[in-house]
Amino acid sequence: MLPLSVPFIATAVLSVLGYVVARKRALSVAGGDIRTLTSLPHQHGLNTALSTLLPPLAVMMVWAIGARIAARSDVALVPENPTMVYIILIGLAVTGFVLSLLRISTSFRARTASEGWIMGLLIFASTIAVLTTVGIVLSMVSETLNFFGQYDFRDFFFSTTWSPNFRGDSDLGIIPLIWGTLYISFIALVFAVPVGLFAAVYLSEYAGPRLRSVAKPLIEILAGIPTIVYGLFALVTVGPLLRDYFAEPMGLGQSASSVMTAGLVMGIMLIPFVSSLSDDIINAVPQAMRDGSLGLGATKSETIRKVVVPAALPGIVGAVLLAASRAIGETMIVVLGAGAAARLSLNPFEAMTTVTVKIVSQLTGDTDFGSPETLVAFALGLTLFVITLGLNVMALFIVRRYREQYE
């Protein structure tokens, strides 16, 4: 860490001081009658405080980041000597302090000036979301390129074996991981989509207020439960249950961790997700559609199956895509429920593994950021990010179009 606390504290103190002094000065300029001022004394104070604080703060941030880049790339981007920087920072603070004090007069619009600073802060805050995405992409892309420098990308994308070996000479094919991920997600969706959809339909079209007021919050509780809880549930309850009552009697396997275990538990996790999204979407279908169908003598279920659901279909597809993106990116349930062995198999009672499980296993414990066995995690992460990004954007687009249709 850089020793920036000294200039930071100094600037902060000066800033507070600026507020007090500027207020006093504004009052004295007004000769005690604040009606002669275009801006109120505290607005002058605020302007001085922000003028003192913000420029050095911005420089500090740039300098801290620059110093990190310099330290990693052996390029002297920034002055080596911290005293130089201290002088620059404190000089900036003092300049802001003095200049803003000098500007105080009866006609100076301190309110506009301070609002300018605040607007800058607001804009900065909203760019953080963008910076996060940039950070995600940059951090993964650079390490992924690093990885492909050491390991052939064709082997990564097309090899069907995954067997990392910390002595080197590993097989790092993503196909078995993608297979496990998709298989588990598929089982989860096969379970969650009908259950979630039927639950949403029943709650919005059939249930009385009593049932709705009980069942809806109960289903929403499922959404608030952390995934680690589902993971433990898979590990200690569902896994052994499936093994003892299904896999072993049917001769399909002896493992408690399996695609089925993880898929079912993930399906439970997705129920509230599917049902609350479908609920919104079904409610967006205009009542006139239902009346039209009922007026022709259709039963309620015929109306739902043949009119409401088809009308809501784009929205429901969007919801399913979002659920799929969730399933593919889910980590804790598969870490605890699916197993660690990379395998290409159709038997759902066998242990398989996923992209997220391998990201966790390659990046925890002793890691060496020079070896492909560690770096592969970034390539896996980038693959995961691209897949889920595609699903999310597609889903957002579809849902947006769908909503516009009924607005």
Binding site: M289, D291, G292, L294, G295, L296, G297, P310, A311
Partner: protein, 253 residues
């Protein structure tokens, strides 16, 4: 004794605590257009919806009294509203075609009620209904196009075709022209006049001119009461009740 299609006696409708229809008696004839008129909120639409039990879909709505179609009490516990609505079709205020093709919109009713034995049967029903609704010429070349792509007037005629396709005996129309422009309104009105040949048509309208143009019988509702019911000509030229007269002459409403 006249052969009434629908006969209602002592009908009361409540929305929760709100007494929306008060003790209405009315007899509606077959092969006739009957218009319900009255100011907004007078209960004419509510009463219309009791005739095919569309009010059942509203939880807080309660209907009392005796409504018979062809002498059968439609609120008898043995009556299934689904079967009733096949017999008593309905067209709504706003055109509400399903987001399906024109063909599927019209075929919807026959399909759910099992009126067609095979595809050519169904084709025939669709064509007949579209012809009756005076939409065939405009729609025959684009039966696969979505019904929502039609103009407002065409959409409403599509909804009429859709209602006709289930072969109803009574057709309820809830302000069918209120969302349409004058030209489309004229087309629909012309259509209503033709439909009279085959059905008993009950139409709710807030346009008195429309009632005068299309109907043979008119019922005037006010604050949940049926104030006056009789021949349309008589209601408009020589009303008995002072309330009817003030409404027709534009003093209330």
């Amino acid at each position: 004794m006249t052969d009434y299609k629908i006969s209602a006696k002592g009908v009361q409708v409540y929305y929760g605590d709100n007494h929306a229809i008060k003790d209405v008696d009315v007899q509606i004839e077959d092969k006739t257009v009957t218009a319900f008129i009255g100011p907004s909120g007078c209960g004419k639409s509510t009463f219309l919806r009791t005739l095919n039990r569309m009010n059942d879909t509203i939880d807080i709505c309660r209907v009392e009294g005796d409504i018979r179609i062809d002498g059968e009490d439609i609120y008898d516990p043995a009556v299934d509203p689904v079967q009733l609505r096949a017999k008593v079709g309905m067209v709504f205020q706003k055109p509400n075609p399903f987001p399906k093709s024109i063909y599927d919109n019209v075929a919807y009713g026959p399909k759910i009620h099992g009126l067609a034995r095979n595809k050519s049967d169904l084709d025939e029903i669709v064509e007949k209904s579209l012809r009756k609704a005076a939409l065939w010429n405009e729609a025959k070349d684009r039966l696969d196009a979505p019904g929502t792509g039609l103009s407002g007037g065409q959409q409403q005629r599509l909804c009429i075709a859709r209602a006709i396709a289930t072969a109803p005996e009574v057709l309820l129309m809830d302000e069918p022209c209120s969302a349409l422009d004058p030209i489309a309104t004229a087309q629909v009105e012309e259509l209503i006049d033709e439909l009279r040949q085959s059905y008993s048509v009950v139409i709710v309208t807030h346009s008195m001119q429309q009632a005068a143009r299309v109907s043979q019988k008119t019922a005037f509702f006010h604050l949940g009461n049926l104030v006056e019911y009789g021949e349309t000509d008589k209601i408009f030229t020589n009303p008995e009740d002072p309330r009817t007269e003030s409404y027709i002459s534009g003093r209330i409403g």
